[in-house]
Structure formats: structure tokens, C-alpha cells
């Protein structure tokens, strides 16, 4: 249904217009047509949003869809469905697939495959270096022309400072950001968890905080010198927040994201050696968690991004040390942050929605994440009070490697519209959502 849809009686919360009011929202021809009180639209399909929040569709700046090459972990279809179920209508996909997304034809492949699935607005990143090897720059100009929205060697960060400097400088022609997984591998080594008390107790090799901060500092200095837009991925340390706060004051072009798990869990979660809590960067200390929350509140950190990283159950069952890094996040992001932060008074609902819509849109310069008249009608409706329990069997993602398994959460996506199509309602996919 791409005709007329009237969303009635909700609380329209759109930080891009500073809007937070009880209103109706009319969608026509896939675009936002009007917002106002008691709108009338004869013949329009209606969606009741009574008691619910009507927000712009969420944007996730950091998703691994594992396609091409690792379809046993996730596919464009399952990952897109997971996104929709979590309220995300735009997702940016990382280039560390097999083959690596380092040429324009792979950007085009991802975009055309996603168009066939027809659920989300999939925006691929291209690699910074060929094969993520850190040796040869990708043809960033052509990747950008093909539709790349940024460049990242996520997971295999550019180790060589000279190469990173070139990448930042060269990328300026595209006006696209370099998304930086900050990890100095000579410091993280064979580390499995944060180097702290838990690592010492459990006898596990640690990943010190400096593995992240040393590279953040390096790349901020490089960006200050040669320009380019630096986006720091999955920030995990208090000192990292400090570095970015200071850099923003100096007007260095930098943005940053934080994951729901780093905002809600700390290293103690590892005490039972459960690989569902293993990700990179690792869960840090309570002090880091508090600093990340503060950074999100004061705008030092721009966006919430999930770093959705699905793995098969067998891979995660190998035990904490052998299991791969990564957790899924698309389907729990909103609810975890509602439960752990908003409902506990640690974050305003408007700030959370801002960090899921307007701010990530600004990070990439997207015309999404807004309900302004004429915008593409990506809309996420959620019930802030609805409670549910995280169950693996209900996941749309192939990955059930969630640290929140069994958690009772408060806040649930009830309806999602993407490009004006009502794709999801009350746990059901519809109107092509079946694909």
C-alpha cells in the first residue's frame, strides 16, 4: 500500500523539526504529506497510534549483513527483517564481507539485491583499502559514485598511520566519512575481554582501553591536519569520549557512535565465560559506561549504532576464547535503551530518538531520519510502555547471539513504514515484508 495512510492519535516525536506533540500524520505517495491535529483523509488506510510514539524510521550506521560470503550468518533478507523488527528503516552495511566490498560492482550488487528484497534503505560502505589489507587505497571516487555512503576497514583497522592519513585526505573529494574501528592491534593482541578486574579473575587475555584510545588520538590528529571526515565507530572508553569531546571543541570534523550494549553492560557480564557477551571492542568498566552515557547526552557521541554482528550458534558455542567477536543488536536496540536508560531517567526519550534518527542522518548527510513534509515516509511507531521478553526463537535475524537473551524489556516497536509502505504491524510482516 503506497497510497494514503493516516497515522492517528500518536505522539509525534521528530527531533529534526523539534516536534513533540500529539498529532496525526498523513502519508501520500510514499512521502510525508501533513502533520496536524485531527487530520481527515477520506479513503486513507488508518493506523492507530494511540499511546504510542510516532518517530522517523531509525537509522543504523553500523550493520554487518554478512552478504556476500557468509550467508549462513545473515542474508540481506533476514538482516533487513531484523532491522524492520527493530524499527530501523535505513541501515549502513560494513564492507568486511567475502569478497570485501572494495569495488563499485559490489556496491551495486548490494543495492540491487536489497531493492529486490524491498524492505529497508540499504546504504553500503566501501572499504578504505583493497581487501581490508591496509596496503592499497580503494577507488573511493568510483565507490562513491556507485552509492557508497562512507569508507571503512571495520574489524581490520588501517594500522599504518601514513596510509590512514592518505585515506582521510583522499576521501575529501567524496565528502564522505571514514568510519574508524579504532583498535591498535599491537595492544589488543590476542585479547578476549577488557583488560581489567574481570580479565584478571577469569585468567583471560585482556584488550586494554588504550587499544582504542591510541588510535582515536592518532586519527584525530591526522584529521586535524589533512581534513577529511572521521567517524569513530562503536566508542567504548571514557578516555575516548574525552578525546572526541576535546576534538569537537577544536572544530575537528569528527562524529562518533556508541552501541546499546556498551551503554548497558560492563565487563562483569563476562563472569560466566558466556560468549554472548564477547564483542570487539569489549564491554568495559562501569566508569566507561557512565562516560559513554554522558557523551550521548551532551552530544559528544552523535549516534546510537548497533554493530549488529550475527554469528551462527555453532560458532558462538565454541567457548568464550574461541568464539568470534560480535553480538546482534537490531531487534533489541530501542527496547534495551528504553529500559536501561529512558525508563530509569538516565536519558530523555527525545535524545534517544534523536540519536536514532536526526543525528545519524546528519553524520552521513542523509535526507532521512525526518518527518518533514515531503520527506520519504520512513516511520517507526513504538509503544514505550509495552513489555516483552527477549526470546531467540522470535528473532528475524539468523543470529541469536544476543547478550540480552531472557531480558524483560519495556518499549516495543509496533509498526514500521518504509517509503510509505506499511511493512510491519504487531510482530507481523506484511505488504511485501514477506518477500
Amino acid at each position: 500500500m503506497t497510497g494514503r495512510i493516516l497515522i492517528q492519535g500518536g505522539r509525534v516525536l521528530d527531533p529534526s523539526q523539534g516536534m513533540d506533540e500529539a498529532a496525526d500524520l498523513l502519508i501520500e505517495n510514499g512521502k510525508v504529506s501533513r502533520i496536524g491535529k485531527n487530520l481527515k483523509a477520506d479513503g486513507a488506510q488508518t493506523i492507530s497510534a494511540k499511546g504510542k510514539v510516532v518517530a522517523p524510521g531509525f537509522i543504523d550506521l553500523h550493520v554487518h549483513l554478512r552478504t556476500p560470503g557468509q550467508e549462513h550468518k545473515e542474508t540481506i533478507l533476514t538482516g533487513s527483517r531484523a532491522a524492520i523488527r527493530g524499527g530501523f528503516t535505513t541501515i549502513c552495511t560494513m564492507a568486511n564481507t567475502d569478497p570485501v566490498v572494495d569495488s563499485p560492482n559490489l556496491i551495486e550488487f548490494l543495492k540491487s539485491e536489497s531493492a529486490k528484497v524491498g524492505l529497508v534503505n540499504l546504504l553500503p560502505y566501501g572499504a578504505v583499502t583493497m581487501g581490508l589489507k591496509g596496503e592499497t587505497l580503494t577507488e573511493m571516487g568510483e565507490l562513491a559514485s556507485a552509492g557508497a555512503v562512507g569508507f571503512s576497514d571495520d574489524g581490520m583497522p588501517v594500522a599504518n598511520a601514513g596510509m590512514m592519513r592518505r585515506a582521510l585526505e583522499y576521501s575529501r573529494m567524496t565528502h564522505l566519512p571514514v568510519i574508524d574501528h579504532c583498535e591498535e592491534k599491537s595492544l589488543s593482541g590476542h585479547g578476549v575481554v577488557h583488560e581489567g578486574l574481570t580479565a584478571a579473575r577469569l585468567g583471560l587475555a585482556g584488550i586494554p582501553a588504550e587499544a582504542e584510545t591510541v588510535m582515536i588520538a592518532r586519527d584525530l590528529l591526522l584529521a586535524q591536519s589533512v581534513g577529511g571526515r572521521l567517524h569513530v565507530a562503536h566508542l567504548s572508553t571514557a578516555e575516548g569520549v574525552e578525546l572526541i569531546r576535546a576534538a569537537k571543541k577544536k572544530k575537528i570534523q569528527v562524529t562518533a557512535e556508541v552501541t546499546p550494549h556498551h551503554l548497558s553492560l560492563s565487563e562483569e557480564a563476562l563472569s560466566t565465560y558466556d560468549s554472548r557477551f564477547k564483542m570487539n571492542p569489549p564491554l568495559r568498566t562501569q566508569r566507561d559506561l557512565e562516560a559513554l552515557r554522558e557523551g550521548l547526552k551532551d552530544g559528544t557521541i552523535d549516534a546510537v549504532a548497533t554493530d549488529h554482528a550475527p554469528h551462527s550458534a555453532a560458532e558462538k558455542e565454541q567457548g568464550l576464547v574461541q568464539a568470534p567477536f560480535g553480538v546482534v543488536g537490531l531487534e533489541t536496540a530501542l527496547a534495551v535503551l528504553m529500559t536501561e536508560m529512558v525508563h530509569r531517567g538516565a536519558l530523555k526519550l527525545e535524545t534517544l530518538v534523536d540519536a536514532l534518527t536526526r543525528r545519524p542522518a546528519n553524520t552521513l548527510g542523509l535526507d532521512r531520519g525526518t518527518l518533514k513534509t515531503g520527506a520519504v515516509a520512513d516511520v517507526t511507531i513504538f509503544d514505550p510502555e509495552a513489555e516483552w521478553v527477549v526470546e531467540a526463537g522470535a528473532f528475524a535475524s539468523k543470529g541469536i547471539n544476543t547478550p540480552f537473551l531472557g531480558w524483560r524489556l519495556k518499549g516495543r516497536v509496533t509498526d514500521v513504514l518504509a517509503g510509505g509502505r506499511h511493512l510491519y504491524h504487531g510482530e507481523q510482516f506484511m505488504n511485501g515484508g514477506f518477500a
Binding site: 581489567g196 578486574l197 584478571a200 577469569l202 585468567g203 583471560l204 565465560y273 568464550l320
Partner: protein
Amino acid sequence: MTRWTRKDLLGLEELTQEELELLLQQAQAFKEVSLRPIKKVPALRGRTVALCFLEPSTRTRASFELAAKRLSADILSFQGASSSIVKGESVLDTARNIEAMRVDVLVLRHNTSGVAAMVARGIRCSVVNAGDGSHEHPTQGLVDLYTIREKKGKIEGLNVVIVGDILHSRVARSDFWGLTKLGAKVTLCGPPTLVPAVMENLGARISYRLEEALDGADVVIALRLQLERQQEQYIPSFREYTRLYGIDRAKLERAKPDLIVMHPGPVNRGLELSPEVADGPQSVILDQVTNGIAVRMAVLYLVSGAHQESPDVLSKTPFENKISRPPVAGSK
């Protein structure tokens, strides 16, 4: 009186002081058994203990085997090289297969921290951690507690120094927890790269100077230094390590005369312990080995749950508690 209710023994960190006492008392009872001419009791008769050592081990495996035999258990033995782990089967799969053979207790040694906990969660039969990576080696910790109490008459209030590669040592962790829970003061000593300073938050004292740490110490436990630590640049050379952290007669001269020297074995002679100290009058290293069997008998007995069924089994030899006694040679 506390009763043993745990399915597994995975580490000493999770045990209460009462549970530690219970294990030590049980070990005391079995030590008496081992002084008898017939060193065997029927405590685990009809039960099966699987020894699954997926990392090279001689003495711990032998100690467990002898402990199980002296309890009259049947033994199933898996070892690293011959096991299907090398064929790519996961540890958990191996454990599930062992469980499916109706084994009662699985004794597991693995080179990765946390594997014992993972396996224990995944199967119903009892799991005894015989050392998991750098995490814990609870039976060695119990052996050390038992030996210290045997030699010193108590543990509470003693000053115990653990010296060496604390960072990678499962023995150090088990010793630290056991000793701390029983009221000893523990000092962790070694080069800063091998002593996690954060252990101070758990109540340990940290020292980088062995002479200082030994001052007033009642017990020193030297750890085996793995030879790869030098390649990994945790230490610049073995020579310097020995000079600074090796225990020799000169360093002991300034310590209390009744200080006892312990080591979980095998000793790198001339590296962490000089030969004259390893074999000297203050060394109780071989007592640790002897006590290892009684301690492991206690562990197997308690985790198997056998104590709940026949509490008086210790008073009998294997041949006494059934009606049909085997014929004694020459009695016809």
C-alpha cells in the same frame, strides 16, 4: 555442619569458607586411608570417572588416576593427542559423548580459560576442573591449602607469598582465593608485566621485590615460568628473572627460618628455584605431591554425591562391605 551440594568443582573463587573446610576435612580422612597397608576404599565402586586431559599433564593426571583407583572407581582415560578434539570435534561434543556413556565424574584439563565452566553448564554429570587455561586449578589450590595447614597447623593469619607469572597462572588464582578465604594474607610477587596490579582490588598485596615480600613470610609458593614468556617479551631474559625472582639460599637467609617453600611442579631448576632450595629442608614440594592424592580423592568423592548414600564407607576396605567376601588364598 555444611554439606557438599555442588555438582561440580570449577574453582575456589566460588566456594565458601565452609565448603573449603569440608573439602580439607574430607581430604584428612582420605590421607589416613593412604597410610594403611591396603590403600583402597569402596567409596566409588561401580562409578566411572573419566579423565579427559586435553593438554599435556603428567602428575595431575597420575594423581587423579590414583585417587580414583583408591576409591575403587572405574576409569576412562582420554588424552590430548589421541582424542577426537584434534579431529575438530568441539570440547562440548566430546563431553556430551562421555556423558552419554553414563560417566559419573568428568575430570577435565584444557588449555583455555572457561572451558570447564562451559562444559559443566552443558552436561549433567559432575565436572572437576583439573586446570583451565590461566583461570583456576582448584585441586592444586586445595593441595596447597592442605599442605600449608599440615605444616603450619593453621592458615589464618599466615603471610603467604606467591611469586612468578601470576598473570598466566591458574595455580596462583586458586591459591589466592583459597588462602584469602581462609584468612591468610597473600602477596603476589613478580615482574610488573606478569603481576596484574588490579588484583589489589581483590585484597592481594602486590610486590615487585622478592626480598621485600619474603620479609616476614611464612610460606612462599614459587610458580613455574613458562619458557614462552621471554619470547613474548614479558621479561627481557631468564637470567634477570632468576636474579630478581628466583628463590635461592641467599634470599632465604633473610627470611624467617621456618618459612616453607612450595611449588606446583614441574620445577624449572635453576630458574624459579635453585636446586639446593628445591631439595632443601624448607621444601615441602614432595609432600604436596603426596597430599595431592588424598585431596583429589576427597574432591571426587564429594562431587560424585557418593557421600550422601553411604557415609560410613571409609571404615571399610573394598572387600568388607558385601556379604560375599572373596576367598582368601589357602583358606580351603
